[in-house]
Structure formats: structure tokens, C-alpha cells
């Protein structure tokens, strides 16, 4: 953290990054999803943790996600500067230096893995380390700029938190943990491709081989429909396991049918129709996809909350 900027009067208004700028490096919006899904994974597990251990586990999973987010911002500063959606991020906007983002990312990654291992168990710590490696190296450094399947494979990084939460509590991986992982993994492609359809200039300008750029927009619409169809059995299947119950099954059926209707509407549209209403359908499906994941995991949580009253679960 160099002092050079503090004495740099070239612009007349020297600027030092505030604490909030470093928080922004951690991608707080992504982190909120990580916290929520990891918390659900931990709470629906059949083994309980002491509240302090549970709090520490969620905190360090979130910090690990934040560390990998900082590493992603360090590596992707060049393309973030080009894209409208990302050019205000701390590194491309100049509020934080790239080296600082790297240092914050590495420090948080190391601390979070070690502390999660000490607070819970080594398997959870190993999974967190793998997740950080997968997001920062496999996705950011390799897949993102080399293949249109970047978010399909890279989506695994965002899918691990509920599994890590489950493993933190139980010490092992089970079918329920795998299905929570698979739910986010299969949800990621249609979620991001819907975004890519209406943020079309961004990825093209940055040279990121998003499916919309490499295979065209019609192919992307087909892919959204196919992946939504593949997502359906995962969502409904998860509701049939030990973490589910009648409520989550009902929620899963409604949500998946709703998502499918949206995917079909996207598939049936062409660019002329989309341009005419400023991508209204694509934007509504993208917004719904966020709600889809939130309600799915909320339903799992509700099953646990209802169990003491003899209502939740199978």
C-alpha cells in the first residue's frame, strides 16, 4: 500500500482508497449470495454446529469468496475497464491499485482457508481452497478468455458454498450437498446468458468469448432453453432428498415451470422483437433467475424451521 498516491498532486485532488473501496474489491453482492447459500447448506445439515463455530464458518467462507473476487478484479482489470457494467470497479477506476487487489486477495484467501480449517474441519477448508483456486485461476485466468463455455464450467466456483457449509457441519459430502451444488451449477448458465443477451456490447467490446459473441444470439437463446430443461430435474430432485419436503417440492415445481416459461419466451424471440421492447423478456427472466435461487434455498431452510412443529421434511 504505497504512499505515492498521497503525495501525487498531478490531478490536484490526491485520493486515498477508503475502507469501502477495499470492501468493493470483495464483490459484496456476490458475497451475499455466497453467505446465504452457505448458511442454508450449514443449517440444513443433519449435524449441528455451535453458533460461534457456525458464524465463523460462514464468515470465512464469505471471506474466501471475497478473496477470490479481489483476485478476479486484479486479473481482469483490463477487461473490466472496457465494460460498462464493470468499469466503475475499484481497480479499473483507479481507486485501488492492482497490486493492492492482489495482496488483499491472497491475504484473505490464505486467512479464510486456515481459519475455516481451524474452526470446522480440513475437508471444508480444502473445498474452500479449491473453490478459490477454481474461480481465480481456472475461471478468471483460463476459461473466461478462452472458451464460450466459460460460465458453464466456471459456474462451479459459485456452486460450492452450500456444499462447503454442509461439509463444515458434517465433515463429509453427501447427495444432498451434491444436489445443492448442482442446483447452482446448472442455474448459472441460463442466468448469465440472459444477462449477456441484454449487455451485448460489453462482452463484445472486451473480447470475452461469451456465447453471444462466438455462437450468436439465436444459439444463446437455444442454450438458455436447454440448460433450463437440464436444471429442472436437479431442482425437483433436490426437493425429494432429505433436505426437501412437500413445501420445497411444491416450490421447486412452480419455480422450475416458471423458469421454463421464461426460457421458452426467450427462445421464441428474435433480435428484432428484443430490440423493440429493449430486451424486456430477457431482463425479466434474469431478475426472476435471482429470485428462483433465493426461493429454492429458502424452501430448504423452511423445511428445517418447520420440523420442530412436525411439518417440515419427508
Amino acid at each position: 500500500m504505497s504512499d505515492i498516491r498521497a503525495y501525487d498532486d498531478v490531478t490536484g485532488t490526491p485520493y486515498d482508497a477508503g475502507f469501502g473501496d477495499y470492501v468493493q474489491l470483495l464483490k459484496p453482492r456476490v458475497m451475499s449470495l455466497v453467505v446465504f447459500t452457505a448458511l442454508v447448506g450449514l443449517l440444513v445439515a443433519p449435524v449441528g454446529l455451535h453458533p460461534v463455530e457456525a458464524f465463523a464458518a460462514i464468515l470465512f467462507i464469505a471471506l474466501g469468496a471475497g478473496g477470490s473476487g479481489a483476485l478476479n478484479m486484479w486479473w481482469d482489470a483490463d477487461i473490466d475497464a472496457v465494460m460498462t457494467r464493470t468499469k466503475a470497479r475499484p481497480v479499473p477506476s483507479g481507486r485501488v491499485q492492482a497490486g493492492e487487489a492482489l495482496a488483499v486477495g491472497l491475504a484473505l484467501s490464505g486467512i479464510s482457508v486456515v481459519m475455516l480449517g481451524l474452526a470446522t474441519n480440513l475437508l471444508a477448508a480444502g473445498l474452500l481452497a479449491f473453490t478459490i483456486f477454481f474461480y481465480a485461476v481456472v475461471y478468471s485466468m483460463w476459461l473466461k478468455r478462452s472458451t464460450p463455455q466459460n460460465i458453464v464450467i466456471g459456474g462451479a466456483a459459485g456452486a460450492f458454498p452450500p456444499m462447503i457449509g454442509w461439509v463444515a457441519a458434517t465433515g463429509s459430502v453427501s447427495v444432498e450437498a451434491f444436489l445443492m451444488f448442482a442446483l447452482i451449477f446448472m442455474w448459472t448458465p441460463p442466468h448469465f446468458w440472459a444477462l449477456a443477451l441484454f449487455m451485448k456490447e460489453d462482452y463484445h467490446a472486451a473480447g470475452v468469448p461469451m456465447l453471444t459473441v462466438t455462437h450468436g444470439r439465436k444459439a444463446t437463446r437455444v442454450h438458455i432453453l436447454v440448460y433450463t430443461l437440464l436444471l429442472m430435474p436437479v431442482g425437483i430432485g433436490a426437493a425429494l432428498t432429505g433436505i426437501g419436503g412437500p413445501l420445497s417440492l411444491a416450490v421447486a415445481v412452480v419455480l422450475n415451470l416458471w423458469f421454463l416459461v421464461g426460457a421458452v419466451r426467450i427462445w421464441r424471440r428474435d433480435e428484432g422483437q428484443a430490440e423493440a421492447d429493449n430486451y424486456a423478456t430477457e431482463k425479466s427472466v434474469f431478475r426472476f433467475s435471482i429470485l428462483y435461487l433465493f426461493l429454492h434455498f429458502s424452501a430448504f431452510l423452511a423445511e428445517v424451521a418447520l420440523k420442530p412443529f412436525g411439518l417440515g421434511g419427508w
Partner: protein
Amino acid sequence: MTFRPEHDLHRRRFSRNLGLGLTLVAFVALVFALTVVKVTRGDPMKGYDHVVDPQLMPTGQAEPAGAGG
């Protein structure tokens, strides 16, 4: 030349320093709380060698002292 506390640098970095300070205090508190939980809810073993101590086991669960005992 002294580096006085009222230097402009301190004002501009106040947010960063305060945030980092509070984060470190919270981290210490969390590690302390975790330590208390681990120690009070830990397995019946000695902390320094992680070897089960028969003297700490509930009555009747301790291993016999030897094959003939």
C-alpha cells in the same frame, strides 16, 4: 521533519485505518470466542499432544492398563 498527527494523510486515510482497526479487533474477538468454544466443548484429550487421556474418560470407558490387567 516530524510526521504530525494532523497531517492531511491521516484525514484522508481515516476511513481505511478505522475500518482496518475495527476488523482486527473483531477478528481477535472471534478467535477468542472460537478458542473458548473449542476448549469447553473439546474431546477428552490433552491440548498439547492430542492423545486421549484415560483419566479424562467417563467412568467405565477407560481402557485397561495392560493386557493382563
